[in-house]
């Protein structure tokens, strides 16, 4: 585990260099929560409704808080890899005694470790203190953590597939933007998926997107029966495995594309 630990430490150390960025982003999250709170408060009052699509106002706010927390756990291997491909440094990394896929996963784990301290925990505490967020029971709490880890792997894998595209395209800033927008929208980052038209909600549930944000959040809020939770986490695991298989296949072809253009 020494190699893996070293890579994670590298990610962590790199993040400390950008602590100002992490801190500001951490400060911005509560602002977002306040915005969504005020927006939905006005909508609930205007609609004279206690419950909209199964959400009370309080549940809606808690949805956005937990969603904000889950959203802070993320990875963007495509950002680092596309840069390395363009500079021709991937060749060097392929020679390391640890697979290319794993190298970046541990690097991202290190970054997320730093994010946990500077962003996730503060947001969580703010939610507990000011927005009536409650701590879930043991079963849901543990399953939430499992689902968040699953979400991290799915997010990482989608990013990695994009990163592999850079072996052909060299510049993937456009694809990165597609990923960010689609993932945020289809994972329920802007609005809970329950508000989507039935067909679109179905599409998101059949895609890996719902498992990146919506499902973990709903598990935290204890809105599924226990058997349902197990089933959903099982499907999530299938997505993790499925995406990994896709990555192995695409990697096989991508690695033959390297030209190593140099800096």
């Amino acid at each position: 585990m020494k190699k893996e630990y070293a890579l994670a430490l590298l990610g962590f150390k790199l993040s400390t260099k950008y602590r100002f960025y992490f801190l500001l982003n951490g400060i911005a999250v509560p602002f977002g929560i306040v915005l969504f709170y005020l927006l939905w408060k006005s909508i609930y009052e205007f609609s004279h409704a206690e419950v909209l699509q199964g959400f009370t106002l309080l549940q809606m706010v808690q949805y956005y808080i937990v969603s904000g927390i889950v959203g802070l756990v993320f990875s963007e291997p495509e950002r680092w890899i596309s840069e390395d491909v363009r500079r021709g440094q991937v060749a060097r990394d392929f020679l390391r005694p640890i697979s290319y896929f794993s190298q970046w996963i541990f690097f991202e784990i290190g970054i997320n470790g730093f994010s946990l301290i500077t962003q996730v925990i503060p947001t969580f505490v703010i939610g507990l203190l000011f927005f009536g967020l409650h701590i879930p029971s043991v079963f849901y709490g543990v399953m939430f953590l499992v689902a968040v880890v699953g979400a991290f792997f799915i997010d990482y894998s989608i990013g990695y597939v994009l990163a592999l595209a850079s072996f052909w395209m060299k510049q993937i800033t456009g694809l990165r933007r597609v990923k960010v927008t689609l993932l945020f929208f289809l994972s329920g980052g802007m609005i809970p998926l329950d508000f989507f038209p039935a067909w679109l909600e179905r599409v998101t549930q059949l895609s890996p997107f719902a498992y990146v944000r919506y499902v973990p959040v709903k598990i935290y809020l204890e809105e599924y029966a226990k058997s349902e939770v197990l089933q959903l986490v099982g499907i999530q695991l299938l997505w993790v495995v499925g995406l990994y298989i896709v990555i192995r296949i695409v990697s096989f072809f991508a690695e033959r594309q390297i030209v190593g253009a140099g800096t």
Binding site: L38, I43, M169, Q171, R177, V178
Partner: protein, 261 residues
Amino acid sequence: MKFLKLFVKSVGLDIAKEMTYKTNFLIKIVATSFGDIVGPLVTFFIYTNASGIPGWSLHEFILFQGVATLVLGLGKTFFLMMPYEVIEHVLNGEFDKILVKPYNTLLYMTSQSFMTESVPEIIVGLGLITYSVYALHLVVGVSALLLFLSIVLLGCLVQYASMIFIAAIAFIVIRSEALVDFFFKIIEFARYPLNIYTGALQAAFVFVFPIAVIGHFPTEALLRGLSIVQYGTIAIPVLVFFSLSLLTWNWGMKKYSSAGG
């Protein structure tokens, strides 16, 4: 005039840069446009599941979002890159080269900050505005249009001023780009009408950090018109905000010391 020439040159350069990776550029355009359509889409979901946002009918709110998208798109296209350019030059120790150029430094940096990839936002904004004006059967007279355009300019000025603040801070702390991201998080408040906010926030968005001119007031001007007094009340804080940013810039320039490579 010379700045216009510089600006045109920089536009040409940026387009040439984007054309190096044409597929990527096309995907970027699609992604940006999609990102701007997601907002109105969510609005539509909200209005089908609830009564919506108080005081705004569906099409009125889509008009609001079109206006905000247009103004934010203009800000991004013309001013967003400015602080990045300044940071880059200060970091590499190349800012001195710009100081010795026979141009006003701020105007020179601004002329270099055109971003082609944000132009689709302007087009999507205009599209949304056209659609909702048509759907609302809105008749916009010449005076209303002029009023609208002048507030759009104020909306651009607020964003320009914010970018100047961030660039000026770069002279002190060097790396201030995190503030740009922070700015974009805060500017989200401009995407919703003032009446959903509490009194203190409303006052803050009109008088302190006057981002209400980005979406709220130009839309109001189109839908309901504004009196002279109202116009003055929203314009003066923006001009003060802009003046403060210029003062900060000058102060930052004095503090600037060459960092070296």
